[in-house]
Subunit: 419 residues, 2 copies
């Protein structure tokens, strides 16, 4: 893609109302635009990152037999009244609205109730089980404060998966599969080495749930961990009973801050019982469906990646998440010509800065935008048969022969055989 | 995909509250599920159709230089107050909601105002123009009635494109490009031979806008047309002045009903003036940005395709829209074995009915689900070296040798070389 042909615009600074580093950098680098506190629009570069994250999640969930659907934001009260979560005293982040035709609707902050209700049409026999359905869906949460950039917003994209199993045993097997899939997802997102499965409160119906916590100075959660015993637990469950359960002593735990990047819940019959989601087993006996739910905040994960990798110069994207593979800058007549040809051969993988600006300004913007590899093709180095390749993460630059550079960095990028 | 492993379930009938044929068939065939009047969930098959439609639109818009973004549903009143569309008397389909932190928000029924407002940050010079930005975004419209299935809903997926040009001339050139791209889109959607560009009211600022109308008995609009003169106009602009403009007499026009599948508007300065979206031209003079907007209702188009192609037996999908390329049914030991191997070679292209049901029931469901090609592999015909291939649209069945069938229908489906 040619930078001159997008409306990606970089800024030296943003307004004072943006206090979160993730949103500040993403706005400055032209990835997102702030609509209002806690509400952000995704610009072309930002949407590419979101789609990359979605694809990683989609691939890993499909590989364990999950199916993608798309539910609605508008919610009728009925199933929420059955579960007891319709009243704002029970769930204080509802946005509600009035229907012209009469009645009140809510904007879904999550989808346990509507999917449980919907499954009454699709589950009647043990033959219909298990069902694992997920969606990438916009959630609405009427947060009183919104000061964490895209980490916690009033409208955000979430992957939510719901499992419907015949019994606890088959549920537990799937729960472990999701847990493993989540770790593969965080690995591919570049968060694998600092993200841990963490014991958290199970709510009223299960002893524990699990969060996936990325250790991060700006994280909102406090967790305790013991690396030797591979134990991480949320502060909310730090009590004598839990310590005994896990076989660890308080003094063996270290404390740190972390950002939640996902959670998995064993819901048991919490929703299927009040909403009456049942099935007939092999003997014709009526049983209640055993449920689980599993979330990953897609836009939140993007914010965590920004917080983890960014440096003084700007954003730094892991390979699988980056909106482009290489950021190309041509300098001088021959350099610009080759740079353009490169971009034309792989416009979906290469971002070329073809704007009429000084090289220094282009270098600064390349650092800010944070594509993994920067390639500078200048007449000066071309005279020696070399081009300059810089790794955004390490900052390491090497002069490579054109052949070397193509072999090492660009073979996967190039659709044509010209080089 | 194996039918036994999805929660696709077919129904003989749906509740009495569903009066629209498109929704009735889509619910019966397992594509969508009704949340409430005018609000539908997309199940795995339905979401595949939606994604296919989105990809066709995306490819054609990208080919004319458009860029994809993602704006938000939550809207602050400010830009809408400037354009005069915040008050419900001016726009009666608003859903509004209260923010916990104070103030009222709206759920976007369209995005002219917020994108015009946002572009103030990205447009300051003639060098920034043109910008063509589109999104696939969920719109909310508080319709008093919702009786047309997925043709008119309270929450729906829309492709909306907005153009920002320096002047009317460059706008007009782009407007024609979009018009051509739309016709390519309708061709690929299978609606090309019955969809026409139609003169419609331009509102307060332009003489005309254009709608794309698919001639259809259940269409909500009345249009007049003259095929020889290639003129189609909406009833709303059938007056002496317009007839004179178009050089056609009233008696030369025939009347029919049609469903709108897209529209394109020259907005001129309708939004850029009150919201003050301006740019500096080459001489440093301040000008107002010239705008256009261009919509296609994605879920609505899906409904129109259903209305146009479906027959007494069920749905009929055009090739590029169909959730799968082939629906395979194996009968007998060897037939089932080959059917399974086929699906395993191309699980993303082939739907196999591996359920433990009578063949007659599988045939009926295949007709209802409407995949373009049905392939029946039975021991009986295999004994003669043949398999049965049926075209869903024409109903024509032919016995083909396995080699012929693979060459004609399946080479593109098969990822492996086994057959």
């Amino acid at each position: 893609m040619k930078l001159s042909q997008t409306f990606v615009k970089t800024f030296r600074e943003v307004g004072k109302d943006e206090t979160a580093r993730n949103a500040e950098l993403l706005i400055r680098a032209g990835y997102i635009s702030k609509e209002m506190a806690g509400v952000y629009t995704y610009l072309p570069l930002g949407l590419r990152v979101i789609e990359n994250i979605k694809n990683i999640i989609r691939e890993e969930l499909n590989s364990i037999g999950c199916e993608e659907i798309q539910m609605t934001a508008l919610q009728s009260p009925d199933p929420w009244q059955k579960s007891g979560r319709w009243e704002s005293e029970k769930m204080d982040i509802w946005f509600k609205t009035d229907l012209s035709a009469g009645g009140q609707l809510g904007l879904a902050p999550t989808h346990e109730e509507p999917i449980t209700n919907m499954m009454k049409k699709y589950i009647s026999s043990y033959k219909d089980l298990p069902i694992y359905a997920y969606q990438f869906q916009t959630k609405f949460r009427n947060e009183l404060r919104a000061k964490s950039g895209i980490l916690r917003t009033r409208e955000f994209l979430m992957k939510d998966l719901y499992s419907f199993s015949a019994d606890e045993k088959s549920h537990d097997e799937f729960y472990e599969k999701v847990s493993d899939a989540y770790m593969r997802i965080y690995d591919r997102l570049g968060l694998g080495d600092c993200t841990y499965k963490c014991f958290a409160s199970g709510g009223a119906f299960s002893k524990y749930s699990h969060e996936f916590q990325t250790f991060l100075p700006v994280g909102e959660d406090t967790v305790y961990y013991n690396k030797d015993k591979s134990i991480v637990l949320n502060e909310e469950v730090l009590n004598d009973e839990v310590l005994k359960d896990l076989g660890v002593k308080r003094e063996e735990l270290e404390k740190t801050t972390a950002a939640e990047v996902g959670n998995i819940f064993t819901l048991r019959y919490k929703f299927s019982e009040p909403i009456d989601l049942t099935y007939n087993d092999k003997d014709g006996k009526r049983n209640t469906v055993f449920m689980g739910s599993y979330g990953i905040g897609v836009s939140r994960v993007m914010g965590v990646i920004v917080e983890k990798y960014s440096d003084k110069k700007g954003l730094v994207w892991p390979n699988e998440v980056a909106p482009f593979s290489a950021h190309v800058i041509g300098i001088g007549e021959e350099g610009e010509k080759i740079a353009h040809e490169l971009e034309e051969g792989a416009p979906n993988d290469i971002l070329i800065d073809d704007r009429d600006l000084r090289p220094g300004q282009k270098f600064a913007d390349a650092d800010l935008i944070g594509i993994p590899i920067r390639i500078v093709i200048s007449d000066k180095t071309l005279a020696e048969g070399k081009i300059e390749v810089t790794d955004r993460l390490t900052g390491k630059t090497e002069l490579a022969s054109i052949d070397q550079a193509y072999n090492k960095y660009m073979t996967s990028l190039l659709k044509t055989e010209e080089y």
